[in-house]
């Protein structure tokens, strides 16, 4: 994975979206992935495969974005699912801790995760601003708070045991988002 570009690269066929995460997945690059995923779902694609072979780590916001994709896909009545593949031990423990291994297609009974190679010839494109070490512009406060709140709510929807873990951050962010809505403006 050393020669792959850092960030989130995506490619798709008519039926599947392939996502490759290289480096860290964080609240800083969760938004481009979320937007891309929503766009692809609008086009009717309901199978997502996320290759974490080059992923050094994920924060809870990024995991919440993945959970949100998984929840939308499973609730779409089109037999959709998100599969995570090539998951290292550290990331596997994170997924298990948050109960996401049950939402994502993982070969848990066999005690191993899915091994996967992208289809030969599939063209990958890196999503803009998905390399957290080289963001071209500062993040927008309001968008970031919205994303983080939605992501942590997704983690709680995916597994109620996450409520205890994330009640402080969700309550802080909800207050912030509600205050902004009450003020009727967006912070830059």
């Amino acid at each position: 994975m050393g020669d792959l570009p850092k960030g989130i690269s995506v490619g798709h066929t008519d039926t599947e979206v392939h996502v490759r995460v290289v480096g860290r997945g964080t609240f800083q690059n969760g938004q481009p992935l979320r937007r891309y995923a929503l766009e692809m779902m609008e086009h009717g694609v309901v199978q997502f495969i996320v290759d974490l072979g080059g992923c050094d780590g994920m924060d809870s916001t990024f995991l919440g974005v993945l959970a949100g994709i998984g929840l939308r896909l499973t609730q779409s009545n089109r037999a959709g699912q998100i599969h995570v593949a090539n998951v290292g031990q550290r990331n596997l423990e994170l997924l298990q801790t948050l109960g996401l291994d049950r939402l994502f297609g993982m070969d848990q009974p066999a005690g191993r995760n899915l091994h996967y190679d992208a289809p030969a010839g599939l063209a990958f494109q890196r999503l803009p601003d998905s390399d957290v070490t080289q963001l071209s512009k500062p993040l927008n406060k309001s968008d970031t708070a919205d994303l983080m709140l939605e992501a942590h709510d997704n983690l709680i929807r995916a597994d109620q045991r996450n409520l205890a873990k994330f009640k402080d951050i969700t309550s802080f962010l909800r207050e912030k988002v509600d205050k902004r809505a009450g003020d009727g403006h967006k912070e830059k």
Partner: protein, 116 residues
Amino acid sequence: MKDFRIEREARGNIQLIKLAGSLDMYSFPRLETQINTLFQQNQHAVLLDCRDLDYIGSAGLGALIGFAKQAREKGGDVKLLNVPERIFKIIELLGFTKVLQVHKDEPAALASFSAN
């Protein structure tokens, strides 16, 4: 990615915890255990020295808000010291500077606990 390291020293009644490396969801439980242990020992004045921290995740920051809240209920606080500029920008972006005190100078940070 650097391994997470944690060291604790007492500064009078204040517990100084030096953090180094990457504080993410994987490493955060170690800090959580340390802080919970201190709270159980009725030590609610905690200063986290972040000088050698190279990453902090959103869940870790969120949990620190909860710890600060718990500590304040007992007359203490959880405060941050020597936060690297890159991490400070994230804390500020998320609005956490409104609920977490951040200091650049250890004596001033220690003195601020007695002002609580």
